[in-house]
Amino acid sequence: MLIRLAGGHVVDPANGRDGVGDIWIRDSRIIEPPQGETPDEVFDLSGKIVMAGAIDIHSHIAGGNVNTARLLLPENHRAHVARPAETPLSTAGWSTFETGCRYAAMGFTTVIEPAVPTHTALHSHLELADIPILDKGILTVVGEDDFLLNLLREGGNRTAIADYLASALAQTKGLGIKSINPGGSVAFADNARTYDLDDMVPFYGVTSRQITEALQQGVMDIGIAHPLHLHTNNLGIGGNVETALRTLQAANGKPLHLAHLQFYAYGKEGKRGFSSAAAQLADAVNKTPNVTIDVGSVMFRQTVTISCDVIRQFASIGTAKPRKSMIYDGEVNGAGVVPYLYKAESYYNAVQWAAGLELFLLITNPAQVFFTTDHPNGAPYTTYPDLFALIMSRDLRNKVIADLPKEAIEQTTLPSIAREYTFSEIATMTRVAPAKLLGLKDRGHLKAGALADIAVYDDDPADRARAFRHAHLVFKDGDLVVRDGKITHYRTGRALTVQPTYDSNIDRRLSRYYDEAYGLSRDLFKVPEQAIGVDHAFEEVACQG
């Protein structure tokens, strides 16, 4: 199948393109314009924006905690108008099927589920396999497991830690390593109610900072592309910018990804002791090029927070709306599911909303800041189109600001910021940089040889959100899956994995540990290749070497 996308405005910053031109697709790949061949299909894209498919690096879309949220909140499911009648379960609210359809309609073709504990990875992969169209990946959560903490207590043998991480990736079929308030679940089991960067993990004699440093080094040692993905301490608390600044320093000049930074961009100014410190934090990020961040923006609406930061989630249950929460302990990681309503008339929520936008607008390099709402924690991913519109238009921001509590906005710098994102910056932030961060060489750009994951949008300055919500066309692997914002058909996506080599001695040690501690085979916690029940369920991504 040979396809020509003719005359669109091609926005491909990875290859320096930002102007009218053609893109050619043969089967699943982008190719150079072929000589003397007639395309099987031509799409006239004059006046349209053509980008690579978008990549979301941090969105809680699948797994035990997400499913708990579904079961906890049946009232959150709205019946949606049927899209294509012939695609199974396309009408199910907040289901895996819905997730694939809605993301694809926005031009997203790869989404990463960022919090999969080592003991429940099979569940996450089963759900991911039921998300149509998209390619997926998981980040494997480590840092609370007794075996690893014992390694650290015994002096943190660097080789053993690297082997442990590589083995955890193999066991869970992960794409990267995540740590969440490192040591916090263990501290909570010991009845801690707060937990900071330099607090000691009870019994193990190591601090959160030491766990972070060891994991950061371990991830570098196994040679995977994605640096340690860190959800640091003290999320959501007034004055926690100080923790974020210390975490930036704790990276010690080495690669680190700091997740949903908006939730750490809070000062203690104002009558209520809660202000935006996003400007200060953005300045620090600008001076710390070894660190990437994603924003985790807040938007005003009902949502549910889903997090393995069990200390934080337990502390939040008093603010749950509706007033019911699920708090999960668990042998390798805690978690909590706490519903929440972000309100435009709330002082605190307005500060949070503004702080997210300030981070977007004040971090100068669009390859250092990633586009997320920490779905669904700051807002559901379905609000992305509105968020794109906000960072692209100062007028639009001012319209929203006009309806927010004045005293809240006074505690931010947002009204003074003139910056408006260009399509090229959007493409860098949502295509080029995510592909690089995750080591996906044939994604995020439109050069010959790239996977033909392509999103085509209307160029409508009057309503950017509509254009981003309903892409004009979306191709996945060269297959047209969205036309005028509507799904044409399902296809099966793949889960992206890395498989760094390691000394299998660690597997023997781990097997002995599981036999002794749990009286269970460690094999029970593995994700077997064939378990997913579809061909090509997984695709291996090369390590950096």
Partner: protein, 361 residues
């Protein structure tokens, strides 16, 4: 491998064709039983959607009691492994727990000190409302309560922990008051129970009790569900439709209603005019009071209250074929290899065959 239509052996494909004809001709086709692995569940729910029918599970009463309280009140929970490693106090609540989970005492290593507890002392183990003698069999302290007194006892315990008065008196009140103090002194305690042997009020009181205890110390619940992938069916239903079982597709999108889509009610009132009964784990038959023409995908040897129109004998997940199932040992899904692989057809394969015969396909 054996398939029958009206009691006569036929090729599998002919049975599937007859099943498709029956389901497609129904006004409200019902998928019931649903005792199968993840692949079978997925296939069954997709079939129900295609038919605009409804689906339910044989163990729904217990499964939905659990989910019902969860979605009203929330909960704190953990895994058996966490209890095994960490709990210095274990409070079993309700009857039949070791019958419902025969390996429970061994799985929780009740006789051993918790590996990750600070003081390495022996665990304190209590059983509130178990059968007489059951506590002693696992080395627990028995707090005996009559079956119909259990909700009151749990509420009384919650009141005692919170320092409130309750109407309970006598020896029970005294032992609950002592127990309350012991619970408050635990480092990391766990209430162990199953919705199969508790009612909603007791579950809700227990959830509240555990939350209250967490104001000062750490405490959590280990709630285990029915065996044979019942919890897995609820989970699979959750990600596919957003809802647990007792969900219907009559309006073209999933709707969940525990009364409307109760399989027994649908059959007994005549609302469902055809049914697909799935029971791959053992010889479990429906106990419908009214006759409805039905297709049975069941383990060999199942005795039905009245003969199915179509019967297809299927393999048992994890024995005849590899399977993904919910394992309460790990509180998540695990992959099981066939213990004695055979050619017996899988539920998902048979449903696939039925779907191919649907005219609308």
């Amino acid at each position: 491998m054996t398939a029958y239509v009206d009691g006569t052996a036929v090729p599998l494909d002919a049975a599937a064709a007859e099943a498709a004809r029956l389901l497609e001709g129904a006004r409200l086709p019902l998928v019931a039983g649903l005792q199968t692995d993840v692949a079978g569940t997925r296939a069954a729910i997709l079939l129900a959607e295609k038919l605009r029918g409804a689906y339910d599970h044989a163990a729904s009463d217990a499964l939905l009691r659990d989910v019902g309280v969860l979605r009203q009140a929330g909960r704190m929970v953990t895994t058996a492994n966490d209890v095994r490693l960490r709990a210095d106090l274990i409070l079993l609540v309700g009857p039949r727990l070791t019958a419902l989970w025969p390996d429970l005492a061994e799985r929780l290593a009740l006789g051993a000190s918790p590996r990750l507890s600070a003081d390495k002392a022996a665990r304190k183990i209590f059983w509130l409302g178990g059968e007489t003698g059951a506590a002693a069999a696992i080395g627990a302290t028995e707090i005996s309560v009559g079956a119909n007194q259990l909700p009151l006892a749990v509420a009384g315990l919650r009141a005692a922990v919170a320092g409130r008065k309750s109407r309970l008196g006598g020896a029970l009140a005294k032992s609950l008051a002592e127990l309350a103090e012991t619970l408050k002194a635990a480092h990391f305690g766990a209430a162990v129970w199953s919705a199969e042997s508790l009612d909603e009020l007791t579950i809700e009181a227990l959830s509240g009790l555990v939350l209250d205890l967490n104001q000062k110390t750490r405490f959590t619940n280990l709630a285990f569900g029915p065996a044979q992938n019942g919890v897995g069916v609820v989970q699979t239903s959750g990600w596919m439709t957003g809802f647990p079982v007792r969900t219907g597709f009559g309006r073209g999108y999933p709707e969940h209603d525990i009364w409307r889509f109760d399989a027994n009610r649908l059959v007994d009132t005549g609302e469902a005019d055809a049914a697909l009964w799935i029971s791959a784990y053992g010889a479990a038959a429906p106990n419908w009071r009214r006759k409805v023409p039905f297709i049975a995908l069941a383990a060999p040897g199942t005795t039905f209250p009245y003969p199915p129109k179509v019967q297809i004998e299927v393999g048992t997940p994890g024995r005849d074929h590899d399977a993904i199932e919910w394992a309460r040992e790990v509180a998540s899904f695990t992959a099981t290899s066939a213990a004695a692989a055979s050619d017996a057809p899988r539920v998902d394969a048979v449903i696939g065959l039925i779907s191919e015969h649907l005219k609308g396909n």
